[in-house]
């Protein structure tokens, strides 16, 4: 009897240790490559061309960052990235919330039609070319607003907010009505402050999307002054690749100089996400759950 429980205990412990070991290997597989990029970005071009390091650079230097920050266009791209993320998130959340507030009232005329119209947009779209033609006809090619206006509404987000608004106690709304408040006032003064957790979730997801988005620029924007960091980085990568392919065996110095710039730009482009990450993490798990609930 005693030996049997001991054996079982031993099996369970073996399972536990093997499991932990595998998970630790898994996290190492994620951390080491990321760490390597950071270390490399702080390496001198000579260390980069020689290679031969994984965890620690033989020659630390800030030259890559100096080169990146000397470029005025990087500052311009940073400004565009921040502007489109901040403006995009605020307008997106408010617009979605406004529509969601209206649709959260059950006795609205045409409600079924509105929701049906929205659900269709979740499954069908015109695709890349017809959307491009529309944006072109609207005169939004090479305009900052192409980042903001087509991204105003997402029906997924409307559904999430709609479900959240339904849980706001009816008594609050009624008492406000007795005090003479209209729906706009109720929406702005009661529903928005009370729905901050839901709005923050959507804002964070949308913000990451805006910050990381590069296809919008690639498709609709050719003006370099409107490039966000992601597009700037893409250009640097593509440039470096074609250069290094032309220079197979040729001048190594050019290749590694751009390599250092690439690495520094990668780190700078990712920095805001990494800084926001602790904040993000608090919200996104509950956000995923709300998002998975269908109406």
């Amino acid at each position: 009897m005693n030996s049997k429980t001991l054996k079982k205990d031993w099996n369970s412990r073996l399972f536990e240790y093997a499991n932990m070991a595998l998970l630790i290997i898994f996290t190492i597989l994620i951390i080491v490559p990321l760490w390597n990029v950071i270390v490399s970005s702080f390496s001198s071009s000579r260390a980069l061309s020689e290679g031969g390091f994984i965890f620690w650079s033989p020659e630390f230097s800030l030259e890559n960052y100096r080169a990146v920050f000397r470029d005025d266009m990087i500052w311009q791209s940073f400004f565009i990235s921040v502007a489109k993320t901040v403006i995009g998130v605020i307008t997106h959340v408010l617009f979605c919330a406004m529509v969601a507030y209206g649709l959260s009232k059950n006795n609205i005329r045409g409600r079924k039609f509105y929701v049906g119209m929205g659900v269709v947009t979740m499954f069908f779209s015109g695709g890349m070319i017809p959307t491009y033609l529309l944006i072109k006809d609207l005169g939004m090619l090479n305009s900052f607003w192409v980042y903001i206006i087509p991204a105003l509404l997402s029906f997924y987000d409307v559904i999430i907010l709609m479900n959240f608004f339904r849980n706001v106690p009816l008594a609050l709304e009624e008492s406000a009505k007795i005090d003479g408040a209209g729906h706009w006032k109720i929406f702005l003064k009661i529903f928005i402050p009370l729905s901050m957790p839901a709005m923050a979730t959507i804002a964070l997801f949308n913000g990451v999307g805006q910050w990381n988005d590069f296809m919008t620029t690639k498709i609709y924007v050719t003006n370099e002054y409107l490039y966000p960091l992601q597009m700037k980085l893409y250009e640097i990568i593509v440039q470096a690749q074609t250069q290094s392919m032309q220079n197979v065996g040729g001048s190594v110095v050019i290749e590694t100089a751009t390599k250092g710039v690439q690495l520094a730009t990668i780190v700078i482009t990712t920095l805001p996400i990494v800084i926001m990450y602790p904040l993000l993490q608090r919200y996104f798990i509950s956000g995923m759950m709300v998002g998975a609930v269908k109406e």
Partner: protein
């Protein structure tokens, strides 16, 4: 009472119901004014492009407007059938998608079970924090990282050299034979941790008394996983499978654009990047739209089929 009211309502003459609709509508103007901007938005940005799909059946040139371009019926679709570049991209799309489906679908399931089974809550939190992080990197950033990791003086070659697996460094990003694996494994690296969130949420809701009962019956850890954890995840697994299957033809455009180069193009070009190249780079709008439309139609068929099959397997419980 309610029933008679609704019958009465249905029998009222149309004109009267119409009038009533407008009276109600006007009375609700304040709320309607909040919804209508959204409806107008969807009409412009979602429905006009859906109407714009008609150029797949037209011969559209830059001088035309959508309505003046001449109809050509299925001519664009006929061209697709004889376009060998298109079929190459189909092969690549399916190859990469099935690799992602075969490996990338299973790993989050295994990983979430492993995380769930860890008893140390600190390790659990640590693994989760680390594994979610790559999801937040854009494909451009990750592409840039991959290019540096795989460079001849980069991390990948360094590790393989020091382990003695290879003798001299090679850049596998330039090797078309390796591209499918690079696309698949980098996608898994980025998304595996993120894919565990919903599974972990489902597992958190499993009644712990199930496990206690199983322990009393003498079930070991593996048996508990097999007979309790996995059956409880079945619905979430099928939901994910349906979504994955319906996206089979929609390979990641960002990933392809950043990882494709002149050396690996033959095995890197996927349908989405082909549509991008034909449409926006070469200006063949009608042809690219036809390709896109064909892919959407097949995707919807896949979605419906997968949903029907899973409905049968899940005792008529539809997951969508």
């Amino acid at each position: 009472m309610v029933e008679t009211q609704s019958i009465k309502k249905a029998r009222e003459p149309l004109a009267k119901r119409f009038k009533q609709f407008f009276i109600d509508f006007a009375r609700q103007w304040e709320i309607q004014s909040m919804i209508l901007p959204g409806i107008i938005f969807m009409f412009i940005f979602c429905y006009i492009p859906i109407y714009g799909l008609s150029i797949a059946f037209k011969r559209y040139t830059v001088i035309d407007k959508l309505d003046t371009a001449p109809w050509v019926g299925f001519e664009n679709f006929k061209l697709i059938l004889s376009d060998s570049f298109f079929w190459d991209s189909v092969v690549n799309t399916l190859g990469i998608s099935f690799l992602k489906l075969g490996i990338g679908f299973i790993i989050p399931i295994i990983l979430s079970i492993m995380i769930y089974e860890v008893s140390s809550s600190r390790l659990k939190k640590f693994v989760q924090t680390v594994s979610y992080l790559p999801h937040f990197l854009s494909w451009i950033v990750l592409g840039g990282m991959l290019i540096n990791w795989f460079a001849t003086s980069g991390l990948f070659n360094e590790v393989l050299l020091s382990l003695g697996i290879i003798d001299e460094p090679r850049n596998i990003l330039l090797d078309p034979n390796k591209y499918w694996w690079i696309a698949t494994l980098s996608d898994i690296w980025k998304e595996a941790g993120w894919g565990t969130i919903l599974y972990l949420a489902v597992m958190a809701k499993i009644d712990p008394t199930f496990y206690e009962a199983a322990k009393i019956d003498g079930a070991g850890r593996l048996k508990q996983i097999w007979y309790i954890t996995i059956p409880n995840m079945k619905l979430m697994i099928s939901l994910n499978l349906i979504l994955t299957v319906s996206g089979l033809l929609n390979s990641n455009l960002d990933q392809t654009l950043v990882l494709m180069n002149s050396q690996n193009r033959e095995s890197a070009e996927v349908i989405n990047s082909y549509v991008y190249r034909m449409g926006l780079a070469q200006g063949d709008f009608s042809y690219a739209t036809a390709v896109g439309l064909g892919v959407s139609i097949v995707s919807v068929i896949l979605l419906v089929t997968a949903n029907t099959i899973s409905k049968k397997l899940n005792d008529n419980q539809s997951v969508l």
